[in-house]
């Protein structure tokens, strides 16, 4: 009786089997990559803001300290977005009629807040506290990157749980002397781990178990 299949079918079959494997592996790799990409995490994406505020200019070139605007960072959970008043302190003197600052001025006049786009946005079930990190020698730049070199700020890290745990499980690799916390240029020394271990002890940083308890961040 006549052949149903062309001889090439055999090859096709073999290739299909192999191809399937390759395809599966590829899919797996793709998913892993995408779930960590900026598209999902929002990392490394500069956000357009109502006022094109440049940290590079203010924090970098003018060297204004982080705490001048983010006043609460040492005391409470949120670092605090400065009230319009803070901007006006200076901009009632300089750049008083620059068009780009119009939103600021009108906000101050109309008493209506400027609505900034949140750059570092954690899920609502995560309770991050700036004050404790700052007090335990975690530098601003450690999580936020070189903000003093960003015109429009972007989120430096992925802010994914694995990223948080990376430090909560090995704090000694990241902590710095308290007096260096707000120093943007700070470079970790060659013997960071040695220094880290010393600081972890000195600053009474909780042991890794406690730091990676669920309740440390989730309530």
């Amino acid at each position: 009786m006549p052949q149903i299949f062309h001889p090439s079918t055999n090859t096709v079959a073999r290739v299909t089997i192999l191809g399937a494997l390759v395809l599966l592996a590829g899919a797996g790799w793709a998913i892993t990559a995408i779930s960590r990409s900026g598209y999902v995490t929002g990392a490394k994406v500069a956000r357009r803001q109502p006022v094109p505020f440049s940290h590079k200019h203010h924090a970098g070139q003018l060297g204004i300290d982080c705490r001048y605007c983010h006043t609460a960072v040492e005391r409470v959970a949120t670092a605090g977005i400065p009230p319009t008043k803070t901007c006006i302190n200076c901009h009632s003197q300089i750049w008083v009629d620059s068009p780009t600052l119009e939103p600021v001025r009108s906000s101050f006049k109309t008493d209506r807040s400027i609505e900034w786009i949140k750059v570092h946005d954690l899920p609502d079930f995560v309770y991050f506290n700036h004050s404790i990190h700052v007090n335990k020698g975690v530098g601003c730049a450690t999580c936020h990157g070189r903000v003093d070199q960003m015109n429009l700020v972007w989120q430096e890290a992925s802010l994914q749980m694995e990223w948080c745990l990376n430090c909560h499980r090995n704090p000694e690799q990241y902590v710095r002397p308290r007096d260096q916390v707000f120093n943007m240029e700070y470079e970790p020394p060659a013997d960071q781990v040695a220094l880290g271990q010393r600081l972890v002890h000195e600053y009474r940083i909780a042991d890794k178990g406690q730091l990676s308890d669920c309740y440390t961040c989730h309530r």
Binding site: G80, P82, P83, I117, Y215
Partner: protein, 1006 residues
């Protein structure tokens, strides 16, 4: 009662049908040793097969398609939410909105506390309100305030939810039209214009009980302008009887202030001293302070209670005797006579002679350290007798002090009667009602609503556009106390300046502002009014300083009512024995509801769903009967009866309450609201329909007629027998002194760790909780405090009935002894935070696991909802979001949420966390200060609210901590500790009672 609801939807728990009480008695008789039981169904397992059938063949199965949906919508409006739990998904773009000019003090993310006072029945309790960026989220007691000492009760806890209640009145309304406030000001001006010539002869003001000095002053000065106008007062839960009693005894009205901290022997004549009333929080604290026995040398006070239906006080008593409310007077006379007072004794005494004898002797032995308290709802004679007894025993000045009346003192029933008479006579053109809800809650015989129709202009200030507002020309939305300036006096007269935490959400006005509208300065704000009043009186050099201090402290120093030396004029009234009320005839007893009070809280979801202290019923009121009476009338739970009293009737579902007095039916007021909001409308039946001025609190001659209908009730606990399990342990002072370790019989104390898994070691803190069953009076405040602190959802009657309530800490109840006079035990049950936790090993995704400090962490955002952990929890303290119970839709309700606690979404498990948000806050504070967390830094919500300090929390690794000491106490035992080796971090101290040896035998306690 809404009979449409009479047929329940599909029921997992079938109704507790006919109960064979003789069988129960038999079982109890044969019972050996100490026998606990929870409710009647458990004793009479007669209807099990019926249960089974019904369980297997549901009458109607879909959950929310009938009654359910209505209630679901209701409860959607009842609970609260911030955001969901979408784990590891893309974050939506969110805005961050900073201040323009940041106010001082306000630091985003840091709560502030303000001292103020919460009103109830006109009296104030000092509280500290927690404010997150301008929104009040939680009420705590003010430790410096005499009426609170840091404690609060369920009603105060829930008041914050009422603040945001979206069903509150939101507009000034004239007839059906929405009008601006100014329009009302004009009307008010016009009224004064018109009536000044006649000196306001046809103008009336109706308020509730008034303790506010400012308000009182305002009304009085207003009456100076229109002298012929009249000021009437009426509160459905008033203190007329107390007042009359004082007048009867002393010839003048005085208030009694008790000092339970000085009392060794307390006799309550139908008085719920610990559970209800303006001073109850303080009294409970003082009472418990005298019962905390920590070693075999401990001393303890003794509490005797005679009452009709079991109250919180009754359940805490050492000796409790159920008698009809109408028989209390006879009882009081017996006691007085036994103490040698010259009073007539009724032919048929209501108390057993030996009981009276024993109590009298006890009181005699403790002259000056005894106390007899008459219930607020008892007739004047009982009060007068109590006063006389206390005086005779030299208790006055020791355990009881008399002070000037705190509230504006009038006979309210009389006052209202006069008003109604005037209205009917058409002598009233203008009636201004400040608060209250007379159309709903005035005595039925006065026919207030009908009379009201004869009034030309009816003006109403109210929190809700309710039954009364409906028939008023003007409705003015009232400001909630958290939105108001004002002042209140506490049970002892202490004044607190009430300060607002938030601008009126719904444009509410205070009574002060409403009254100002009738003066020549109508625009004055409550702030100005109150401040000006005190400016005149503070008598301080620097008033601003005085003002700021008063606000900061939460009370005005030395403002307590001045003492008053009074003595009993004569006992003439008691000379001749009264005709004893016929035995066997049924009495009806009215009481304010333990959760919705007089009805003002009917629309507060938290309170509707809070189990009533004794019955554990939710969302309904019932006709409570003693088992014996139910047996006689062939009634069983959930039978609908027609209660007929004095020619009036209501239909009510029956609930059988062990320990209730025979021939007595108790109904709670405050239900059957028709116009309050989505939560309260149609819940329960309106008992006010039976209540008359003649019998405000109790009346003989009630009749019950079985209608044959059934009405399903949702109680959170109604299940079967303890079968002699030693879950609740209690001992007596006597036993304890001779044999301190009694509580450990049956083990459960410590126990060595046998586990396949390596034992956890706790280097740092190890959190633990100790609950003293000896102190707990079962008031349920902890349950609702937890609900407020932890954003716990309200699920609605249908879901409660399915066993899906969400409370993280529940108060279990167990009965001990016989059916008619059982001892009642309360056992608060939060998560035990086991060290060998059965829940942890079974969660496939690690959503619940063990922290390095010994907490069972429950991570909502990791939970996939297998429910395995709950199945494997021997304490069944875990709660599951079977639906999306949290409300994400009503903006107003989002405001009440605690920002430090995640709002749970559908399909995740939740449970008590030991208030980990508070632990973390304390930890971060301590860490920043480079120190350890001190004992007392972390206070859980349930601990903070507890009036009797029954709950203690802390670090068990610190031998000096209070909790560590309590855990070392011989009374301590671990629930199921011996059976399961779960090693709970929450441990109990066995209850201790102090029965009178002379009576203990008689009552045959173990």
């Amino acid at each position: 009662m809404d009979t449409r609801d009479a047929t329940p939807p599909s029921r997992g728990v079938p109704d507790a049908a006919t109960i064979d009480l003789t069988a129960i008695r038999a079982r109890l008789a044969n019972g050996t040793g100490r026998q606990y039981w929870r409710s009647l169904d458990e004793l009479a397992e007669t209807d099990d097969f019926k249960r089974f059938l019904e369980a297997e063949f549901p009458r109607e199965a879909s959950v929310f398609d009938t009654v359910g949906r209505r209630q679901f919508l209701k409860l959607m409006g009842a609970s609260l939410a911030l955001a969901g739990l979408n784990g590891c998904t893309k974050q939506p773009t969110e805005k961050v909105v900073p201040y323009v000019k940041q106010p001082e003090l306000v630091v985003p993310g840091q709560p502030l506390f303000f001292a103020t006072a919460a009103p109830l029945g006109g009296f104030g309790t000092g509280v500290l309100a927690e404010s997150h960026m301008g929104r009040p989220t939680k009420i705590e007691g003010n430790p410096d305030h005499p009426a609170s000492l840091g404690a609060t009760d369920a009603l105060l806890q829930a008041s914050v939810l009422q603040l945001y209640d979206p069903d509150r009145a939101q507009v000034v309304r004239n007839i059906r039209e929405i009008r601006p406030w100014n329009a009302f000001l004009d009307t008010a001006a016009a009224v004064m214009e018109k009536h000044r010539p006649t000196q306001g002869a046809r103008v009336r003001f109706l308020t509730e009980t008034v303790t506010s000095p400012t308000l009182r002053n305002q009304i009085e000065s207003l009456l100076k302008q229109i002298p012929k106008a009249r000021w009437h007062q009426y509160s459905p839960v008033g203190r007329d009887q107390v007042r009359a009693g004082a007048i009867l005894a002393f010839g003048e009205p005085v208030d009694a202030v008790y000092h339970l901290d000085k009392a060794d022997v307390i006799v309550s004549l139908d008085a719920d001293v610990l559970g209800a009333g303006a001073g109850s929080l303080r009294y409970a604290r003082d009472f418990a302070g005298r019962r905390r026995v920590l070693d075999e040398h401990g001393a303890m006070n003794r509490l005797y209670v005679v009452e009709s239906s079991p109250s919180v006080t009754g359940s805490a008593a050492d000796h409790r005797l159920p008698i009809r409310a109408v028989d209390a007077e006879a009882g009081a006379r017996q006691l007085a006579a036994a103490l040698g007072l010259d009073v007539g004794i009724p032919s048929e005494p209501s108390l057993p002679a030996e009981w009276v004898k024993a109590v009298a002797e006890d009181l005699q032995q403790h002259r000056g350290a005894g106390l007899v308290v008459a219930g607020d709802f008892q007739p004047p004679e009982v009060h007068a007798l109590a006063h006389a007894i206390n005086e005779a025993l030299g208790n006055v000045g020791q355990t009881v002090a008399y002070v000037e009346p705190v509230a504006a003192s009038v006979d309210q029933a009389q006052s209202l009667r006069e008003l109604v008479a005037d209205m009917e006579a058409g002598q009233v053109d203008v009636l201004v009602m400040l608060g209250g809800n007379p159309v709903y809650d005035a005595p039925a015989d006065l026919r207030f609503a009908a009379a009201l129709q004869k009034v030309g202009l009816r003006i109403r200030l109210g929190l809700y556009d309710d039954e009364t507002s409906e028939v008023c020309h003007w409705h003015i939305p009232e400001a909630h106390y958290l939105e108001s300036w004002g002042d209140l006096r506490a049970y002892d007269g202490t004044v607190t300046i009430v300060q607002p935490l938030i601008a009126p959400l719904y444009g509410g006005k205070t009574a002060h502002e409403l009254l100002a509208a009738f003066t020549d300065k109508p625009e004055r704000t409550a702030y100005e009014i109150v401040r000006e009043y005190w400016k005149g009186r503070a008598g301080a050099v620097d008033f601003d300083l005085w003002w700021r201090k008063a606000l900061h402290d939460g009370f005005v120093p030395d403002s307590a009512a001045p003492g008053k030396a009074v003595s009993v004029q004569s006992l003439a009234f008691a000379k001749k024995a009264p005709a004893a009320p016929k035995a066997g005839t049924l009495e009806v007893v009215f009481r304010p509801d333990p959760t919705v009070y007089d009805g003002r809280f009917a629309n507060v979801g938290w309170l509707q769903e809070l189990p009533k202290p004794i019955t554990t019923l939710t969302w309904d009121n019932v006709a409570m009967l003693s088992p014996a009476t139910a047996e006689r009338l062939e009634l069983s739970n959930e039978d609908v009866v027609e209660v007929r009293f004095d020619g009036r009737t209501v239909r009510a579902p029956v609930w059988i309450v062990p320990g209730h007095a025979r021939d007595s039916v108790t109904v709670h007021l405050g239900y059957g609201r028709t116009r309050v909001g989505r939560i309260g409308n149609g819940a329960g039946f309106n008992a006010y329909a039976l209540r008359t001025t003649g019998a405000p609190w109790a009346g003989l001659g009630a009749q019950l007629r079985k209608t044959g209908e059934r009405y399903w009730l949702a109680s959170t606990q109604n299940h079967f027998s303890l079968e002699g399990r030693d879950l609740v342990r209690s001992t007596t002072l006597d036993e304890l002194t001779h044999h301190p370790h009694a509580a450990h019989e049956g083990g459960g104390h410590g126990g060595q760790d046998l586990s396949f898994y390596p034992a956890h070691e706790y280097k740092g803190y190890a959190w633990g909780m100790a609950i003293d069953l000896g102190s707990c009076i079962g008031c349920n405040a902890c349950t609702i405090a937890c609900q407020a602190e932890n954003n716990i959802a309200v699920v609605g009657k249908d879901q409660v009935w399915r066993g899906r309530e969400m409370h993280w800490i529940r108060v279990d109840r167990y009965y001990e002894g016989d059916l008619d006079t059982p001892l009642i035990h309360a056992q608060p049950l939060p998560c035990m935070q086991c060290e060998n936790a059965p829940c942890e090993v079974v969660c496939p995704v690690n959503a619940t696991n063990h922290s390095t400090e010994g907490l069972n962490q429950m991570v909502y955002n990791r939970c996939v909802g297998t429910k395995y952990c709950s199945n494997n929890c021997p304490y069944k303290v875990r709660r599951f979001n079977f639906y999306r119970y949290s409300n994400w839709d009503v903006e107003a309700l989002k405001l009440v949420a605690n920002p430090d606690v995640t709002v749970r979404s559908r399909g995740v498990m939740e449970k008590c966390t030991y208030c980990v948000q508070r632990i973390n806050a304390a930890r971060i504070q301590a860490e920043k200060e480079d120190r350890e967390i001190r004992d007392g830094d972390v206070v859980t919500a349930c601990q903070q609210v507890c009036p009797t300090e029954a709950i203690v929390f802390g670090n068990v690794n610190d031998p000096e901590s209070r909790v560590a000491k309590l855990r070392a106490n011989p009374r301590t035992y671990a629930l199921l500790g011996a059976e399961l080796n779960t090693r709970p971090r929450t441990t109990y101290l066995a209850g201790v009672r102090n029965p009178n040896p002379a009576l203990a035998q008689k009552e045959g306690k173990a």
